[in-house]
């Protein structure tokens, strides 16, 4: 399949000239020659303005796409390896590691990233993967929580996501999750900043068009945490939200804030049906 992606380069050049420039391509994402990913599918019912949801992978160049198709070339996996060391290291007053309770993450963490953020009835709040990890660190390990979207936290997020790759995003938006989802939706359609842009202004009304020299995607977060070529590290979805709102020249919410947790749930639900790709590679 990788062969296809590379040889398709010449054909693509011809096609993208006639199709709209910067739009999604028709390549197929197969991970390590084994896992076929769903990168385009019908939009979930709750979406009013888009018929087909498309992974951000389709908006990248063939070279960047190829990096994500092979775990050896995906530099995000370096950070997953680092998180694996943390996974096996005992920490905190209880002297326990993640592995002591959860064993091999390939078994225990499969499917986790696909269903988070999730309402935690015991805590009475919406929880992201990073919040769940920190709860575990504080309650079960007696360790200090990690700062939201800090290096270690986002690496662990990626380790957990990597074991759900290929599984469809399926976050619950009804029941207890509904008020969070509504709040997230409101933020998504609110215009922020001096430029008065909402998420929808770019990622719903203009995906496939250029924003300066870059392609606008649908802003799906099925590939988070994402390894970005521009900063050579993994980036969490909240940091991405923050960067976007900053670019509208607004005061942003902070990573881990209630606003971003709600927004993460809403944006993730817009990708219900796409495969989890984290750690993906983007530019």
């Amino acid at each position: 399949m990788k062969f296809k992606a590379l040889t398709a380069a010449a054909a693509l050049l011809a096609v993208s000239g006639t199709a709209f420039a910067g739009g999604p391509d028709d390549d197929t994402l197969v991970l390590n020659g084994e896992i076929e990913m769903v990168t385009k599918t019908a939009a979930p019912e709750h979406m009013e303005n888009i018929d087909e949801i498309i992974s951000g992978w389709h908006f990248r160049t063939d070279e960047t796409q190829a990096l994500q198709m092979d775990d050896f070339e995906n530099q995000g996996m370096i950070f997953v390896d680092q998180a694996m060391e943390v996974w096996n290291t005992a920490e905190g007053s209880e002297g326990k590691s993640c592995a002591d309770c959860h064993g091999d993450p390939a078994d225990s963490m499969a499917g986790v990233a696909a269903s988070y953020p999730k309402f935690d009835a015991d805590a009475g709040e919406m929880q992201t993967v990073q919040m769940q990890v920190n709860d575990c660190r504080e309650e079960n390990m007696g360790a200090e929580p990690w700062k939201y979207d800090s290096g270690t936290a986002v690496n662990m997020d990626a380790l957990i996501a990597s074991h759900s790759r290929g599984m469809p995003v399926n976050v619950a938006i009804d029941g207890d999750a509904a008020p969070y989802w509504e709040k997230g939706k409101e933020i998504y359609y609110t215009r922020y900043g001096i430029l008065e842009l909402s998420c929808a202004s770019c990622h719903e009304q203009n995906y496939g068009n250029y924003i300066r020299a870059d392609h606008l995607s649908q802003g799906q977060i099925n590939g988070f945490p994402t390894y970005r070529l521009k900063n050579a590290k993994l980036n969490g979805s909240h940091s991405r939200f923050k960067g976007c709102i900053r670019d509208t020249r607004a005061e942003t919410f902070s990573a881990g804030s209630d606003e971003f947790i709600a927004l993460e749930l809403y944006v993730k639900s817009r990708g219900n049906g796409l495969s989890i790709e984290g750690p993906s590679v983007r530019n």
Binding site: E73, Q75, A232
Partner: protein, 109 residues
Amino acid sequence: MAKGVKPRVKVPKKAAVGDAITIKTLISHKMESGQRKDGDGNVIPRSIINRFTCDFNGQNVIDVTLEPAISTNPYFEFEAQFPEAGEYKFTWYDDDGDVYEEAKQVAVG
């Protein structure tokens, strides 16, 4: 020793004699260029991998000099002719004197 350095190599387990095999290598390393300054304005000293070599059964296959402009986590992909069963040996040389090694056996098949 620089922190978090881990060499990785991907080589086919077996190959036909005379074939050109694709070798991929990646070493996690921050590749500090020596051009940057910290918060107090002091120059952060240069710390990079300055040389990478690959040898097959004692014979050199590739010898690369790396310069400060090379990005973090240097990745090399190259083809090498496979003459006989043996061992590819990979060596990275760090500015601080450390040497990281990795070796892979390839069988005839």
